[in-house]
Symmetry: D2
Subunit: 346 residues, 4 copies
């Protein structure tokens, strides 16, 4: 089996060696199961150091589970969740929010996957009108599916707007480490300090094997979550193998080191590839995703050796994504091949 | 952190070293995600060697997921699933079959968690009657929640009974390795050869970190399952870390060696503990679970050092369970402590 | 089209003429829709005279809707509802509680469809255990599916037992008028006075065209019900045609007169048919349903002219049910035909 | 109780006298329940005269039920239904399609509530991609929520587009009588002849008390619907009182006479009110709904006497709707009052 040369997704990376080592070390014999082991309980405490002592943390195995179950826990089926039309919950979870979350999504048009109070406001009508789903949560993704970042002030504004209207704010943080690295802030700064109510916390894309969490920051929500997680088929028996990953991920700045590596490799790729005639990088690169215009024939040549997504067939945009495992050499080799491909098709 | 002295559940064991090694070896860099990697595709082929070429295998992370999603895939919400009242789906999944599977369960009284055509028949009335859920699946657990085994003939009889009535047969095989080891038969002998329609295949309890699968043997069912699995939040991105476990689990008889170890340790415990005056082993020990009458005061003493479940407070029954990781020394130490505890309370 | 000679169900009767007249009178031109019309609002007030001022009343179109939505409104999907195994919610709603209510039902064995604290207690284990559905509601049916009545004291005992354990009590009162008539008590006596939490109130079987209601008596439950009813497809637009029925049903003792007629016709039938040699009435006749042993060949003869259900093919039991529309002449003609049929097959 | 002067919705009208008479006549004594009565069976046959012999007709009590259950019957939860953003299923059913239908809706931007193949096409990507809900149904509303009509050719084009892509077409016909009257065509012409797959047929707004139906025209879909309807709490016991309405509605052109009256009263209102200086009718009036710009102060005056909706507060648009029960005198009186109100605020 040979490794893939991938700029497709940070999901294509493996696990960081230190995290793999933590998994191996967790294999110490018999422990209690279903999250009642000391290792999982200790990891909760580590999370509280990052998110505040009132945080309640529940581990799950996929980002879709974190999103759907977090949202389900804070809504009635007659509530709606407002999100950008590009949101993962709207496009990339195969209808899970509706079918397994019992949630009505209200997708809001957006250019870059970001919401603003002004964009949300027109979709909040009909409060108290029995024929309409009642808005309950604003869900934002940080960074967005288009690789863009909310500033802390922008998040704060959305939270204020939401709380004024008795709405909750959910932050889909599948890649929140990349966002914090880019904004040079802590998880606490981005969530607890801004009164975000609940978070989907992702570890998988940034170096774990499989480790995600639902984190309730608002003490008034999510009370029955342990039952819901079990019912939702997400209570793994040998939980230590999940919590050990996340404990290591949070320790010794590993999450930050990994995220910085991913982000800086994206910047390097943007700078070097963007300098090639015939390649245009679309917009700024906020984190670890970039979008480029490139001749479609060059894309075809590159796809023989590399794995990445054509984002829009019509305007010849491709998405390139870097990860904690992307190295300078990988970027440079890729840039070299891009240059050759573009020249070959001139 | 110190290891637990546990006879509570095979879930308390860690991962078999060979399986942990396979996980470490799977960490080779970038691979496609969501099960499209070669490693996962190859593991499918290994499963087909065990279950036949028509088998379709879908990996999930919990036994509850395997049960609920397998059953959901083959039922309409107006169907019912018949099971023993002791079934895991009825008692131990926090209502997941109903809430996330859309399934009406019909629990059937049973002494040992086993069903028979005779016990099922009275619950099959009202076919075609629009007010009644329409029976669609008979779900059996092998071994049962009470540690008992169906003979192959008994399974065959249930399948014949089911198919004569246009019903499917689901086998909850969270511990099916233990069953095959005890009955000295292959997975194929126990399922495909008997025309069982779908199987929940468990690897976690017998040495994996986290590895379960839904296996459709009947070619006419389960077509949309990949969408359902994604929607049900069970499509993990770095699937190789699941499939690598199961590939190793199936290779070199590891599943069988582990299951035999668990079973033989239960037999050893039953023989040695059963010989202690004041301790009575209830019934035969078919696999790796045993139930014992023991003075409640002795149980209290033992629970200070060991972890296991009081099964029935009223008749002073405890459940002891062994695993692939249980050793002769552990059993003998435990037996010794049982003897002391029983003597201490005489 | 000719009328059916039916002793099958009170559902086979038409509408009482006074109720039909009320529907005709409600047709006065334009009114607000969806229950915001004065007629519906006034009917709420009439209900409060019967159930107390704290009652909140929501009209629906079927008894299944009343049961499922009332229960859904007071449960999380990880809760369970305990009921007799014969309960309508368990057997006669095609899995609606599970599929549309998200409810785990725990059916409890019973001889006559009645529950007792003693029968319920063994099914209340596992509180706080994340693997088990958490008990939340005890649902009783008055009269039961087997035509039996709880005394007020028996209901009171169940409510006390429930409230001591933080459980709610739901009374399925599809035929509660018959129960109140038989026990010579008011709706208030049977529910509000006993601290029952919520009621499915039936009007259809006792003289309405289509008129049922969910009534919350406990002020702490069911807050979001109007949204749930709309979402559950039960908010009819021209609500006045439902509420007008129920207003008339409650006025001038119509509900009581109708129920007494049904009950007394059942008693008459039991006495007269029971006196025929070869016919045995099983147990006491509490309300308007009776169960009789009768030679199967006689049943065949009777079914040529009459419509009723064979309750149990094996022990030759039939169910006969009377309604507000059953007359003495109808009973006497039926008894005469029973006698002839039984004699013919001797 | 005094009648409402309503131009708010055709839901505010009562029942047509001939239909009320049919309900009264249906009250002939005992009949079989749950739709097994001759009256309901005969009504099925009447519907087949209108929709073709292959049509299967299932009565329900609300338009929301017809939409949600029809769509649920033809989809898996991992399918999506594409509709205009203004669709009733998207905005006016309180999330029922998602929560009780298990359906992912994909709302498509539209000016007048109409869809076209060109507007739909961009939303059909990701077929076979496991992360995305799989498109299955295009749902169109005729007339739309904005009172606009599809021509038969436009429907035909959508059906052809859909069937080419293995999609079904659902027609939400809550007001389809108004559409057929306006287009001078039959129900058959608008649905069966164009290969529409399933229809939500509405009778309530056009003269019934409560009478809607799900009609499957495509013989390959909707097989289990009777179970689904029961489970969805929509199987009324005394079905004759629903079917009798619809039978009369279809007989002697009553549906057409009523619809023509509603439509022509809307035209009259548009012509006469549109001639008032200060009032502008927006666009053409296709059926029985019209939208008008009118000074907001005039609206306030009118709302003291009349009941209608402010459609858009920002651009001072109101919606006026006529029904089968709207008379020329009512229109003329309303027009007179509009004139006075507009003049009063000049």
């Amino acid at each position: 089996m040979k490794e893939l040369k991938s700029f497709a997704s940070d999901n294509n990376s493996g696990a960081h060696p230190a995290i793999m080592e933590a998994v191996v070390k967790a294999n110490i014999g018999h422990l209690k199961s279903y999250g009642e082991d000391e290792m999982s309980i200790d990891t909760d405490e580590v999370f509280k150091e990052f998110f505040g002592s009132q945080a309640r943390i529940h581990y799950v195995t996929t980002g879709t589970a974190a999103n759907v179950l977090g949202l389900r826990a804070v809504t009635h089926t007659y509530n709606s969740v407002l999100c950008a039309e590009q949101a993962h919950i709207n496009n990339d979870e195969c209808g899970a929010p509706e079918a397994f979350g019992g949630i009505k999504l209200v997708p809001i048009p957006s250019q870059d996957g970001k919401l603003t109070p002004g964009a949300i406001a027109p979709y909040l009508g009909h409060v108290g009108f029995v024929h309409a789903s009642q808005p309950k949560v604003i869900s934002i993704t940080q960074p967005t599916e288009l690789g863009k970042l909310y500033t802390l002030k922008e998040i704060e504004d959305i939270v204020e707007f939401a709380h004024d209207r008795d709405l909750l704010v959910h932050l889909d943080g599948a890649r929140m480490a990349n966002a914090c690295a880019a904004l040079n802030c802590s998880f606490f700064d981005m969530t607890t300090a801004l009164d975000v109510d609940l978070v989907s916390f992702g570890g998988t894309k940034n170096g774990c094997l499989m480790g995600e969490a639902v984190i309730f920051l608002n003490p008034d929500i999510g009370q029955g979550f342990p039952y819901l997680r079990k019912q939702a088929m997400q209570l793994v028996s040998k939980m230590r193998f999940v919590s050990a990953q996340l404990e290591r991920y949070l320790r010794d700045d590993l999450w930050l080191i990994n995220a910085r590596q991913a982000n800086s490799m994206a910047t390097r790729l943007a700078e070097k590839a963007g300098a090639i005639e015939g390649v245009t990088i679309k917009g700024d690169v906020d984190c670890n995703a970039l979008f480029a215009h490139i001749p479609p024939e060059a894309t075809e040549i590159l796809l023989e050796k590399y794995y990445f997504y054509i984002w829009d067939e019509h305007d010849h945009t491709v998405r390139w994504m870097t990860s904690w495992a992307t190295t300078e050499d990988m970027v440079d080799e890729f840039v070299n091949d891009i240059r050759k491909a573009v020249e070959a098709v001139k």
